[in-house]
């Protein structure tokens, strides 16, 4: 029974991890930027959900509908005004720049919300369901379903919409996309906006489950790193596979050798994957 519980927990958590990582993966794949603000955007989304519920009693499900367009606009503007100026610079410059932006956003959040941990508690609580001794909290289950739905929406955007095809084209070959008449700068901005919107939505879902504090942003960012490397870059299915794999490893690892070592294990695995299989589980070799 323990095994089944660990497995279910991993599946539930894995979809959430995928949701955390997918925006990060999109930005890394399309813009070739390691986006260190991602974690802080997730926390900001969580605060938004918390604030809306606390002051206006808007439930987190509706908060998703507010968060997504708002964060898209924020991301679009940040990319257009700041990031786009150094987009062709080497990784050192773009990574340090996003680190600087992260310092600003994180400090602003510490300043306004303080570093206290807060929790969004739904009233009445949603309880949990149990099936053959396997217990799953309902709010977690709904958050997982929403995470899957968000991932699906991104998949459909990239597959079906004209703009999505353009994003994929820029990712595969930037120069060829330019020759085909794709406006690369606007695609960059839209991809970054999408990434930010997904971070915000992931934050809303996280607010349901985990405590909220500006200090948690690096933990989310770390998860995004590991998921991207495990699953492979820039594909929706890769992020899902990476998220579930990470959750499985963490779950099994903390059951067998203790929860304190779960993070060490996942990062050690990340370094191992980078060296042995840098294209990830589902990634293809050939383009970076």
């Amino acid at each position: 029974m323990l095994a089944a519980q660990v497995l279910i927990n991993a599946l539930v958590l894995g979809c959430l991890y995928a949701c955390i990582a997918i925006g990060f993966s999109l930005v890394w794949g399309v813009l070739n930027v390691i986006n260190l603000i991602h974690g802080s955007f997730i926390v900001l989304g969580a605060y938004l959900a918390w604030g809306l519920y606390q002051s206006l009693h808007i439930s987190p499900w509706y908060a998703l509908a507010i968060t997504a367009p708002l964060f898209f606009v924020i991301g679009y503007i940040v990319q257009r005004l700041i990031l786009n100026r150094v987009i062709t610079a080497p990784v050192l410059v773009t990574l340090t720049l996003t680190f600087g932006l992260d310092l600003i956003l994180n400090n602003a959040m510490i300043y306004y919300f303080k570093a206290d941990y807060r929790k969004l508690t739904l009233s009445p609580p949603m309880g949990s369901i149990s099936l053959f001794d396997v217990i799953v909290p309902v709010d977690r289950l709904i958050a997982t379903a929403s995470a899957l739905a968000l991932t699906g929406v991104l998949y459909l955007i990239l597959r079906r919409l004209r703009i999505g095809r353009a994003i994929v084209a820029v990712r595969l070959d930037r120069d060829a996309a330019v020759l085909m008449g794709v406006d690369v700068n606007s695609i960059y901005a839209i991809a970054f906006g999408l990434g930010t919107a997904l971070a915000g939505c992931a934050g809303v879902l996280m607010a349901l489950i985990f405590p909220i504090s500006p200090l948690t942003s690096t933990a989310y960012l770390g998860k995004a790193f590991v998921v991207c490397v495990l699953g492979g870059l820039g594909s929706v299915s890769g992020a899902l596979a990476g998220g579930i794999l990470l959750a499985l490893i963490e779950g099994i690892g903390s059951t067998l050798i203790g929860p304190a070592h779960a993070t060490t294990l996942s990062f050690a695995l990340l370094i191992l994957f980078l060296i042995l299989r840098p294209q990830g589980l589902l990634g293809r070799k050939g383009f970076e």
């Binding site: 080497p90 410059v93 600087g100 600003i104 300043y111 990340l270």
Partner: protein, 311 residues
């Protein structure tokens, strides 16, 4: 290259006179200035000479601090523990480098960032040895009195800076430095003409970790208390990069000047805006990267265009 190395050594020599000019506050600033210069110069060996964007500085700083701290609390004298930390780090970084430096660009950046996380968690979980999240108290080592203490640690850090500057001077004038420049410009071509790239990169990575660890050790002995979130702070990785960017990538003198300029800015910000100091640092980084991506040294050629040199 020769002239700029002489300027570097002269600059370091000038700093030694600092204790004659001020009290313990000046000494504290001077010690931090030397520490920052060590971090920036060391980073420059991997990041500037070889062109590998390493974010692992904090990992080596922290492991050096903990190696020294644990040795000191076991009764080993400072004069042994700090070199031990440096040597251990050199060996470890060279071995890690042989594996990690096969990665390029973004992948190397992520791997080196993750190194901090791995080291921090290892230290966090080795509670028996390191005290884990409770931190590690380190016994007092130096002489009696506040001022004597401050002077001692200033000269300890300064001595390390001198060693680091000598190392950088020797590397940049040697075959190793030339090989690293080849690797930076075109690694595939460098390998093609028979340069042992892996060896060169590993040694460079080891050298860039060695003095950082020793500085971490002196820092640990100086502040008497360390904990994982303090010495494995990712800021120790980013600050040297910002300093190097302020000064202009690649040039050791520029990097040291960048470290001093950065310390000055940081001190002003800490004094006046304690609540928002990291935000102000962020603004500084963004402005620097957007408007002065080639560093302060590039201003010279902008103001005095006839002295422009092509490097």
């Amino acid at each position: 290259m020769m002239r700029s190395n002489l300027i570097l050594l002269a600059l370091v020599a000038c700093i030694a006179a600092l204790p004659n000019f001020g009290g313990s506050y000046t000494l504290r600033l001077g010690t931090i200035a030397c520490m920052y210069a060590i971090l920036a110069l060391s980073w420059n060996v991997a990041g500037g000479f070889a062109g590998y964007p390493s974010f692992a500085t904090a990992a080596f700083f922290g492991s050096g601090a903990y190696t020294t701290g644990v040795l000191l609390s076991k009764g080993v004298p400072l004069a042994v523990s700090v070199p031990a930390a440096g040597v251990a780090s050199f060996v470890m970084a060279s071995l890690l480098g042989a594996a990690l430096l096969r990665l390029r660009g973004h992948y190397f950046a992520i791997a080196s960032l993750s190194l901090i996380e791995v080291f921090r968690e290892l230290v966090n979980n080795a509670t028996d040895l390191t005290g884990g999240g409770m931190g590690l108290n380190i016994p007092l080592t130096a002489g009696s009195g506040v001022l004597a203490d401050a002077t001692f640690f200033f000269y300890a850090m300064w001595g390390l800076l001198l060693l680091t500057a000598l190392m950088v001077t020797i590397v940049s004038a040697s075959k190793l430095g030339f090989g690293l420049a080849c690797i930076r410009q075109n690694e595939t071509a460098a390998n093609m003409i028979g340069l042992n790239g892996t060896l060169y990169k590993s040694v460079a990575f080891g050298l860039s970790a060695c003095f950082v660890s020793a500085a971490g050790g002196v820092y640990a002995a100086w502040v008497h208390y360390i904990d994982p979130s303090d010495v494995f702070d990712i800021l120790y990785s980013v600050k040297p990069i910002v300093m190097a960017l302020i000064g202009g990538l690649g040039s050791p003198v520029g990097v040291v000047i960048g470290a001093f300029v950065y310390l000055g800015l940081e001190e002003v910000v800490w004094r006046n805006y304690i609540q928002i100091h990291s935000g102000v640092l962020g603004v500084l980084i963004v402005i620097l990267l957007l408007f002065l991506p080639r560093g302060l040294m590039s201003l010279r050629s902008r103001i005095l265009p006839w002295r422009t040199k092509h490097v």
